[in-house]
Amino acid sequence: MIGNLIGVLFDGVAYGSLLFVISIGLSVTMGLMNFVNLAHGAFAMLGGYACVMLMTRAGVPFLATLPVAFLVPAAAGIVLERTLYQRLYKATHLDQVMFSIGLVFMSVAAATYFFGPSQQPVRLPDFLRGQVHVFGLDLGAYRLFLIAVVVVITTVLTLLLVKTRFGAQVRASVDNAVAAAGLGIDVNRVFGVTFALGSGLAGLGGGLGIDVLGLDPTFPLKYMVYFLLVVAIGGAGTIKGGLVAAMILGICDVAGKYYVPQIGSFIIYFLMVALMIVFPAGLYGRRT
């Protein structure tokens, strides 16, 4: 029973880590530009497909594809941000929602056209398969790897935001874009770079997540709620909030599906509505 519980917790944390990697970019861009971007999952999907295509068509090993899974969506992100997203920062939330739903539909259709409607396979390297014995517990090697990756990413991101000049510019722009621009910060450039970084991280998460979340053309729609939830519950614009929210979501979802499968995903939606009522601005959100 206890072993069970730890197993569920472990799976939940691994799942939460994945949600965190994918959603953190959304959280920062939402906090930065106040842009409701439902199409964030499309970037994750792009990363996933970049990963799969390199593996199956070019025979590149899994780990070597991950940088590409980061770079391709980051490039796509910066192009889309400069050409389209940028025009809508000042638009109403309704316009932003419609625009990003449109992007989601297009990405779903395009993915089906190019890669077919089926689930994509992933071949993990041998050392990431199977179980690892830690303190008498059997833990999935790949899930351990996921958690380790997230620890690294979180550390790097936090250092980037707290220690570097760019990080200071991002924080200033999140707090008050107008004042930041007045101080000579090129807010426009900060937006663009942050968007690309967020899209890249989403793509990396998409690539890492093929084994856990699966990958098919409906990916952006299927997980849209989860990504939005991380941001909405955590509060936009904070790494800590996103991390806590992703862990809560991951653990609750895995535990719910394991212990009370008959009510399935009901738990997660209930949790979401309940949390949104108690914390309308998110756990760590700033009240405006």
């Binding site: 929602v97 297009m106 509505v273």
Partner: protein, 333 residues
């Protein structure tokens, strides 16, 4: 200092409510479905679907276009209405009009209960709460298969004759007339509603939430009221679908239904009652013919259309027409 100002003041029109008189073009608009009924007798089923969805879109337009509440879960009320009407008929009460009323009341109760969660919070919180409620109901209906039939849908809906005279036929004749009558009645109601002081205060909320309390308008109360009304109308639309198709599927609660509906309203032009109806008609007809060719292409073009509408045609079809008309007027003078 400037005591002479009143003397040169421009005479201003007294503030008054928008005129409520029916214009010729509106009457012509409502003659279209009548013409369609006689001209295309083989398309009455599609026609009734459009009319029902039009009513549903109208209900969303009230909260989205007029009150500015972005909802991604309006199908929740549609589904509640559909299941209430369907279950009534399955359990032996197949009278259509009373079923419609009960479904409307059920939608209103559910809308009122959830309105408290929706009126508070930011746009993002609203988006998530409405989305969450919709998904929750979908899961609930899916799991409670002993009541709802689950994924197989609710079958065995048997309707009595409408008004004791007209039975629901396969050609959709009764369904068409029935839907048109209900749509028209509720449209007249909505039209009156949005040009009333209440409707004007909703627009005030949409334009500036912070100023409305300053002129003495209770924002939360107004939003709760319109949300409840909108939920009731969505419930009636759902009941119409259940009664005319004599079947209720799980997809009445689905997210695609909410998203498609929002697209229809925005496509036609949010905040204009006719915009909702025109958007629905265009969307449904395009969907009917294009998705037969290839459902994937349909989704791609739909997405592209959305992006283009948002970037270049704010206000949808209706907005574009207005802009064009103003431009023509401008070039003439």
């Amino acid at each position: 200092m400037s005591a002479a100002t009143p003397a040169v003041a421009v005479p201003q029109a007294a503030p008054r409510l928008p005129t409520d008189r029916w214009r010729a073009i509106e009457i012509a608009f409502w003659l279209i479905p009548v013409v369609v009924f006689f001209a295309f007798p083989t398309h009455r089923v599609l026609g009734s679907q459009i009319l029902i969805t039009g009513l549903f879109a109208l209900s969303l337009d009230l909260i989205l276009g007029y009150a500015g509440i972005v909802s991604l879960g309006h199908a929740a009320f549609f589904g509640v209405g559909a299941y209430v009407a369907g279950l009534l008929a399955v359990h032996g009460w197949g009278e259509p009009i009373s079923g419609l009323v009960v479904a409307g009341i059920a939608g209103a109760i559910f809308g009122y209960a959830t309105s408290f969660l929706v009126v508070r919070g930011t746009d993002l919180a609203r988006l998530m709460v409405t989305l969450g409620i919709g998904l929750m109901l979908y899961e609930a209906a899916n799991q409670a298969s002993f009541v709802t039939g689950g994924a197989d849908g609710l079958s065995g809906v048997r309707m009595w004759k409408l008004l004791g005279v007209f039975s629901f036929d396969l050609a959709g004749t009764t369904a068409f007339v029935y839907s048109l009558a209900v749509l028209f009645l509720l449209f007249v109601f909505s039209r009156r509603l949005v040009s009333s002081p209440f409707g004007l205060s909703l627009r005030g909320v949409r334009e500036n939430v912070k100023r409305m309390p300053a002129i003495g308008a209770p924002v939360a109360k107004r939003l709760i009221a319109i949300y409840t009304i909108s939920a009731a109308m969505a419930g009636i639309a759902g009941a119409l679908l259940a009664q005319t198709t004599q079947f209720v599927g799980l997809d009445v609660f689905g997210f695609p239904r909410s998203a498609d509906l929002m697209i229809m309203v925005v496509l036609g032009g949010a905040g204009r009652l006719y915009g909702a109806l025109i958007g629905t008609t265009v969307f449904m007809i395009a969907h009917h013919y294009l998705s037969d060719l290839n459902p994937i292409y349909w989704q791609f073009w739909l997405g592209l259309l959305l992006v283009v509408v948002v970037l270049f045609a704010r206000g949808g079809i209706f907005g574009a027409v207005t802009v064009l008309r103003e431009r023509m007027r401008g070039s003439r003078t």
